[in-house]
């Protein structure tokens, strides 16, 4: 997110309601853009996409938009069972074409057919020109290809071998089910015991050579005559297709693969890892043997509060629809905040004015713009926060900057990196008018002058020309349901890194809830007075990033250029 920016904290049911300090990398995962957040009314809490419970409320194919009944999703392996395929080379969607295409060599794209054309049919990539006949795949009918293909997936060598393995183990497991039921299955003190262990020990009814029961390290005194069978006396598993056989056909990392690799002329003949790594069965490593891929289904998702399971968002069922039946967006509960750096906006305005006047095609040097826009060490900059109230009642807001915790265990180099800067914000609460439709607003814009105590206080340590400048810390403007707050950052001379700080926003609103029977909420409600004028306070953290500090040396360099 380009600076200046502001993100909102989600406590994610964490034990500490206080967010991590902003300079830690993990901080960025606790903060989110407001529009991605939800609000649970039940818990009176923000919820984010990292913590909500997700439920699938429907499946559809992103290509043909067919809504797939959930009963068949599982058997169809979460992929479209109609005519939707991806090219194994370039992942573009494939078309079904008749096998006697109108001269594919002249560069024209082939037109996908509907029901015309001569069988057999092929899958064809309009983008890279791959076609399924390259891997010996042709189809009698141009419809239901995925279903035809899935039959082969289900009878693929891996699943056949898998079934045989299952048959191999099932009788052993069954034989041991009685004895295994007497064994602890959830005891932490014997974590190795599992039904197969039980099978081996019980069904064979004898000690493991060299490994006596429950004392895996003591040597057995019993000698055993060498047989060619393994000592566990499991029946030998006979593979359906063993690796030796498979590799004689040029799969499986055997000598044929080595020979081919040795003579390889062109890397593109070998399939990329990502194109073959989910194939559990050894396959050819060559690109030319890749099969078309059925297109994975997408899901429509409902999201619930992880704490109380209240629904937060529920999409409309239809695949085409992007609307929601229910949506509890945090943006309709919390004030939206926009951060701006006035000095940068001015610089950009001048910049674009200049550019449109000159109409030159040569771009202005980057340093020029940065010099005016960025934050230089040792200087002081104003910034604005525009807060907008989404509620139908006015709110009272109070801002406070979270103090940076200096960890004792942190070493010197870390200390040097920490950006030393000071933030000034108005400390007293201010109001934001209620949200209303545009035409309902009166022309009641208020511009504020230079009379606040806080301004003076903030300025005392600052420059002398304060009196000549417009006020920068305090309420700057009120317009409609938006109030603009001015703040200021003083950047240290040796500062580096970003001007990034956590800011607590607490706002008091009139509660609509007539029955305050619920237990106290997380938002620390301050119940002022009786039932008549009930107010609640909700507090949330944000992280404000004003941008990178240009260290002194570089700043000087830029000044020299200018």
């Amino acid at each position: 997110m380009p600076a200046p920016s502001i993100l909102y904290h989600c406590p994610c049911l964490s034990t500490s309601p206080v967010p991590p300090p902003p300079h830690l990398p993990s901080s960025s995962y606790s903060f989110h853009p407001l529009h991605t957040l939800f609000f649970c009314e039940e818990c009176d809490a923000v919820r984010c996409n990292r913590c909500v419970s997700v439920e699938v409320s429907g499946y559809y194919c992103p290509n043909c938009l067919f809504e797939v009944p959930s009963a068949s999703v599982r058997a169809e392996k979460n992929r479209c069972a109609r005519n939707c395929f991806m090219c194994p080379n370039c992942r573009n969607t494939l078309s079904v074409v008749p096998s006697d295409p109108p001269d594919p060599g002249d560069g024209r794209l082939m037109v996908p057919i509907s029901a015309v054309g001569e069988p057999p049919f092929l899958l064809y990539c309009n983008y890279c020109r791959w076609d399924s006949s390259e891997v010996g795949m042709t189809f009698e009918k141009p419809t239901g290809l995925a279903a035809q293909l899935q039959k082969f997936e289900d009878s693929a060598l891996d699943s056949l071998e898998f079934d045989r393995l299952k048959e191999h183990f099932e009788p052993i497991i069954r034989a041991s089910s009685l004895s295994s039921s007497t064994l602890p299955t959830q005891a932490a003190h014997s974590p190795h015991t599992n039904p197969i262990t039980a099978a081996a020990t019980a069904a064979l009814a004898r000690d493991i050579p060299g490994v006596a029961k429950y004392t895996p390290l003591t040597r057995s005194q019993r000698g055993h005559k060498d047989k060619s069978a393994n000592k566990d006396e499991m029946p030998q598993y006979k593979s359906r297709v063993d690796i030796t056989t498979a590799s004689k056909h040029g799969t499986g990392g055997g000598e044929l693969d080595v020979e081919m690799m040795k003579r390889l002329e062109d890397v593109s003949e070998i399939a990329r890892l990502e194109q073959r790594w989910s194939l559990s069965w050894t396959t050819s490593i060559e690109t030319r043997d890749l099969k078309p891929l059925r297109i994975p289904l997408h899901s429509k998702r409902s999201k619930r509060c992880p704490a109380c399971t209240h629904i937060l968002i529920k999409p409309e069922q239809k695949a085409q629809s992007v609307r929601f039946k229910i949506k509890l967006a945090a943006a309709s509960y919390l004030p939206a905040i926009v951060v701006a750096l006035p000095h940068r906006q001015q610089a950009l305005a001048v910049e674009s004015a200049k550019r449109s006047m000159v109409k030159s095609t040569t771009a202005p040097p980057d340093e020029d713009r940065e010099g005016k826009c960025e934050l230089q060490a040792g200087k002081t900059y104003p910034f604005n926060l525009a807060l907008s109230n989404p509620l139908y009642d006015p709110i009272q807001v109070r801002l406070s900057v979270q103090r940076m915790h200096v960890s004792h265990s942190e070493g010197a180099p870390d200390k040097a990196r920490r950006p030393p800067f000071a933030i000034s914000l108005p400390t007293s609460p201010f109001t934001i008018s209620a949200f209303a439709e545009a035409w309902e607003y009166e022309e009641d814009d208020e511009m504020f002058g230079l009379d606040d105590d806080e301004v003076l206080e903030a300025r005392l340590r600052g420059e002398k020309e304060i009196k000549t400048k417009p006020k920068s810390v305090g309420v700057l403007e009120k317009k409609g349901n938006t109030t603009v707050i001015g703040g200021e950052v003083v950047i240290g001379k040796e500062a580096r890194g970003n001007v990034k700080f956590n800011m607590l926003v607490s706002f008091t609103y009139r509660s609509d809830d007539p029955s305050p029977s619920e237990s106290n909420d997380m938002g620390s409600p301050s119940k002022a007075g009786s039932k008549v004028t009930e107010t609640k306070t909700f507090a949330f953290y944000t992280v404000v990033d004003l941008g990178a500090i240009i260290p002194k040396e570089e700043a000087k360099y830029i000044d020299d250029i200018l």
């Binding site: 995962y29 990292r50 997700v54 599982r74 392996k77 979460n78 891997v135 293909l149 039959k151 082969f152 997936e153 289900d154 009878s155 693929a156 060598l157 699943s159 056949l160 071998e161 393995l165 299952k166 299955t185 959830q186 003190h189 974590p191 190795h192 039904p195 197969i196 020990t201 064979l204 493991i208 050579p209 060299g210 490994v211 895996p216 390290l217 003591t218 000592k231 566990d232 297709v241 063993d242 690796i243 030796t244 590799s247 040029g250 799969t251 990392g253 693969d257 080595v258 040795k262 003579r263 390889l264 003949e269 070998i270 989910s278 559990s280 050819s284 289904l297 899901s299 992880p306 070493g411």
Partner: protein, 593 residues
């Protein structure tokens, strides 16, 4: 799309294509009718568990009862691995590391359920494929996210080595998992992992990455994109050393998976059949070894570096134009380069592998249009993995030695069984030729030491001491068998014949996942921890008393020191927490010893 007509010895093997099916392969369909598969799913759908193999780089996820994972993905997002075997010493730094790990795990796990599998986590039991050296704070984080964020009903952790054995229909064997951070050999008897006999080495995927990187920096060639303009600068004058920035993790991954393979052991290169390295046979080719002064041999052997790739052979010293490798860095100036140079000479002479060109994104700001080209010498493709096979020392055993050391620890009466049921799994053994080579290296390592010490790949290390470490394993020579060896040679015993190459043709990388899927459908596997159980137990503060003695731990055991997370709940079963019988050294001190 034209396919170059290079000579191939391979035949195409596509037994499951529709065309094949229409004609002959009806028996395939009959033996597992689609009908039953579908029906079983709809009847028992929710009972199928979610199976996750969470590697430090790559995750494989899917449903139990299926023969292959639904999805495989990089879990790293730019970093080279999701966790490492070392943690920060500073408490604050470690806390931040833990937070970041949780953030990343949460992201991966949520995406497994919501994007890959499209299933409701509250309705799915989960099986986690657990690698024995998975740091316990990592395991804890996995469990915490699954239970607290996703609210799954139960989680089972099952040993990756045992699961891999299940996938080949066995419950006994010696399993080598050659992953990214480590290679781990663990014997398993009757489904019981013999954890005290576990052997590990850092020679694994990550080391291969960095070795390939150094080889390419020294011997690779980089051609920047052609500059715009009428003059076409000849390739020769564009050639330059490979800028380190080009060799990102993803480029290295691509090189390893699309270009590299494992050649035969060099000592026996002159004999035509290298697979059956039988005693005495490898002495015959001693003369191929260069004298030690070879390290300063002339540059001419390297002049192939800039050659055009349409010349099929990378061999020989014909030089079309000047060489990158070396005028700029005098040979011998860098001892490492000097040593590698000697090896390079040796390998170049014996390698028939072609040089390859790979299109790569050019250096930013380097000028020119389009892609840059990376030229990988054939011998680098063939010999990059030598680093894993070179005899090492106590801290860094070769992948063969780690198997043999495990074997030395196995009770005598189990050794033959273990030696003949070796299973090799993990991502690194996906390299063509890896398993074949490992077999030769096993046999070679147990032969009496040859007269001439072998060339160390790492010149900064002294050659390993010449003592007969594996003499007691020598009688096992005829029995050695890797069950998933794709090209086992002539067997020297019935036992080897019954075992070598008899495993089903699952890939080494997915073996553990397939085993977990099988364990899930058989309702077996690791110990199950339910969510109620998890919720009952409050997180523990302080150290686990069983792990108290950290002072003696060596770097290779540092993962143990990590097993003291503040949030740790002792509910998760873990092999390092098992009380051992008296008189037996604790697992902590045995590991890596």
């Amino acid at each position: 799309m034209s396919i170059p007509t290079t000579p191939r010895s391979k035949t195409s093997f596509n037994p499951v294509t529709p065309t094949t099916k229409r004609t002959a392969a009806t028996h395939i369909v009959q033996s597992s009718p689609h009908y039953t598969t579908t029906r079983r799913h709809s009847l028992y759908g929710v009972e199928d568990r979610v199976v996750i193999d969470p590697g430090s780089r790559v995750w494989k996820v899917g449903f139990s009862g299926e023969g292959r994972p639904r999805e495989v993905f990089y879990a790293t997002e730019g970093a080279s691995s999701l966790w490492t075997l070392r943690r920060a010493a500073d408490a604050a730094e470690r806390a931040e590391e833990d937070r970041m790990l949780e953030v990343k795990m949460e992201k991966c796990l949520r995406s497994v359920f919501h994007d890959s599998l499209l299933t409701d986590p509250k309705a799915r039991k989960v099986i986690i494929v657990e690698h024995p050296l998975l740091p316990i704070y990592t395991k804890d984080t996995l469990a915490r996210v699954l239970f607290e964020n996703l609210q799954v009903p139960s989680v089972s952790f099952a040993s990756s080595h045992l699961l891999s054995l299940l996938a080949v229909g066995r419950i006994t064997g010696l399993v080598l998992d050659c992953g990214y951070l480590e290679s781990v050999a663990l014997p398993i008897f009757a489904s019981r992992p013999l954890f005290p006999q576990i052997q590990t080495t850092p020679l694994a995927g990550s080391r291969l990455h960095s070795h390939l990187r150094s080889l390419l920096l020294l011997f690779g060639t980089y051609l920047p994109p052609t500059s715009p303009g009428p003059v076409n600068i000849p390739t020769a004058s564009r050639s330059m050393r490979v800028p380190p920035e080009i060799l990102t993790d993803s480029i290295l991954d691509e090189l390893l998976t699309r270009c590299c393979f494992v050649g035969e052991p060099l000592l026996s290169v002159s004999s035509n059949d290298t697979r059956d390295v039988t005693p005495g046979l490898d002495e015959g080719s001693e003369t191929d070894l260069p004298p030690s002064s070879d390290a300063t041999q002339s540059e001419s052997d390297f002049s192939h570096v800039g050659r055009d790739s349409n010349v099929s052979s990378a061999q020989a010293s014909t030089s079309d134009f000047s060489v990158i490798s070396d005028p700029r860095t005098p040979v011998g100036a860098d001892p490492r380069a000097g040593g590698l140079q000697g090896l390079a000479n040796l390998y170049t002479r014996h390698s028939t592998a072609t040089d390859l060109r790979l299109r790569v994104a050019p250096l930013p700001g380097g000028g020119g249009l389009g892609y840059a080209t990376l030229i990988i010498p054939g011998w680098v493709r063939e010999r990059a993995a030598e680093i894993l096979f070179e005899p090492g020392d106590v801290d860094e055993k070769s992948v063969a030695e780690v198997i043999l050391d495990a074997l030395l620890k196995v009770p005598l009466d189990l050794r033959k069984t273990m030696a003949s049921s070796i299973l090799v799994v993990g991502g690194t053994p996906m390299l063509p030729g890896f398993i074949i080579r490992l077999h030769s290296e096993l046999l070679r390592a147990i032969q009496p030491s040859p007269f001439v010490p072998r060339h160390p790949v790492r010149p900064d290390k002294p050659p390993p001491p010449q003592y007969d470490r594996y003499a007691s394993l020598r009688p096992l020579t005829p029995y050695f068998a890797i069950v998933n060896n794709p090209s086992p040679g002539e067997p020297h015993s019935d036992r080897a014949k019954n075992n070598a190459g008899k495993a089903p043709a699952f890939t080494p990388a997915t073996m553990a996942w397939v085993g977990a899927s099988l364990a899930g459908v058989l309702k077996t596997g690791g110990v199950e921890v339910s969510r109620e159980k998890w919720d009952e137990v409050e997180p523990m503060g302080g150290e686990d008393s069983a792990m108290g003695d950290m002072s003696t731990s060596t770097p290779s055991q540092s993962f143990h020191a990590d097993r003291d997370s503040l949030h740790q709940r002792n509910i998760l079963p873990d092999w390092t927490r098992i009380p051992l019988p008296t008189g037996v050294p604790s697992a902590v001190t045995r590991v890596g010893a």
